[in-house]
């Protein structure tokens, strides 16, 4: 395998992802959404009936590509190592609230940077929330927060999520009647899959993480992972400018409730710091043997279902009181999990 310096690798992964994020909207992905990890998990949740909003129901091949790309890269690099057992059910619940927070904001950190790079100023409240959330998470880490050590598990455990991704792909191709697929709002399957695979491979090699980049600056003054975020933002911005997608004046699928945006990504930053990686990183890790991250992926899937069934998710028209209550509950849950898992 070609050896690329780790610093270049993370910059390359972030930059290419930024380019793909902008380009895929040209090919049919929703404007201002691009390749949002949590939005796409929400779409998968809808497709398999975990919520019933047909407009946001589709089996997103980008997610399948992330998982399978990471799986292949992990196998080739001999890094497919099956480990887990570090407080899985706590990771599940934290991840569910991470998904809920992201869906109140209307986007995970990827989409927040993508929104900013598209000239959508409503992303700023989310960025601020993400930074404050990561900072609170770091305070817990410094106070001794730990979810326990992982242990090696049997190979079968590590294959559950990659096989689930393959199963989703078969469902997408077979289109059985019990699956809901919105015919609009997505790039051609082949393009999305190839992009997903490339990003999944690069993410596995580089450990690209959209919360880790901020967390490491706060925790250890290290800018290594931040280079990925920087590359993503800069290249997404450049491609948006080239394609005439920057600052169109209309910011579809976003709202102007800045407090809700702040709190939504605060939950994402905080929760992701507690479980050791952003929603994207969890999905990539789930592809090459980390079953705790597999649990996180499933937690986000279920959380996304709740977000819509309980009317928590934000809408372009705003955020309901349900959404605000949902985030307050999330904050209380994180405080309880945080304080009860601090070891000295």
């Amino acid at each position: 395998m070609v050896k690329i310096k780790p610093a270049w690798m993370v910059l390359l992964a972030g930059s290419l992802f930024g380019i793909f994020f902008a380009v895929l909207t040209k090919f049919g992905n929703p404007a201002n959404m691009g390749t949002c990890l949590v939005c796409f998990i929400r779409d998968i949740a809808g497709a398999v009936g975990l919520h019933h909003i047909g407009k946001v129901s589709y089996i997103r091949t980008e997610i399948i590509g992330f998982i399978l790309g990471a799986c292949v890269a992990g196998l080739i690099a001999k890094e497919f190592k099956v480990v887990g057992g570090s407080s899985p059910i706590l990771r599940f619940i934290i991840s569910a609230f991470v998904a809920i927070g992201a869906l109140v904001f209307l986007g995970c950190p990827i989409r927040m940077f993508g929104r900013l790079a598209g000239g959508d100023p409503t992303g700023f409240a989310g960025l601020l929330g993400l930074i404050v959330g990561a900072w609170i998470g770091v305070l817990f880490l410094k106070s001794g927060f730990m979810l326990g050590r992982t242990k090696e598990q049997s190979k079968a455990n590590g294959w559950v999520i990659p096989v689930f991704a393959l199963f989703l792909f078969v469902l997408l191709l077979a289109k059985p009647s019990f699956i809901t697929l919105n015919p609009k709002g997505h790039a051609p399957i082949a393009i999305s899959l190839v992009v997903g695979l490339i990003v999944g491979i690069l993410a596995q090699r580089s450990r690209l993480c959209f919360v880790g980049g901020i967390r490491d600056i706060i925790l250890i003054r290290d800018f290594h992972l931040f280079q990925g975020l920087f590359g993503f933002f800069v290249f997404c911005l450049i491609v948006n400018l080239l394609l005439g997608q920057f600052n169109s004046g209309a910011y579809p699928i976003a709202h102007t409730n800045h407090l809700a945006s702040f709190l939504g990504l605060l939950l994402v930053g905080w929760g992701s710091t507690l479980i050791g990686g952003c929603p994207f990183r969890q999905t990539v890790l789930a592809g090459y043997g980390n079953t705790d991250s597999g649990i996180s992926f499933l937690g986000m899937l279920v959380g996304a279902g709740f977000a819509h069934n309980f009317l928590l998710a934000g809408k372009p028209s705003g955020v309901s009181i349900h959404g605000i209550i949902g985030m307050v509950v999330g904050i209380v849950v994180f405080l309880i999990i945080g304080f009860t898992n601090c070891v000295r």
Binding site: P6, K81, V83, L141, L147, D216, I220, D222
Partner: protein, 70 residues
Amino acid sequence: MAKEIDVRGLSCPQPVFLTKKAIDAGETEIIVTADDMVARDNVKRLAENSNYNVQIEEKGEEFILNIIKK
């Protein structure tokens, strides 16, 4: 006496965080046992950026990082 840190089974960012604590405490010799390549690479980068020399020994599935102040 070298400060020994066992980061086996710990997920990101605990291995780096625990090593950073030892560095901040002024330890001149630190031995980190890791079982994960991400932890190995991250701890190595942190130590080198903090003006330490790092030697890595592979023992089966594990990595022993000998970290010594320059």
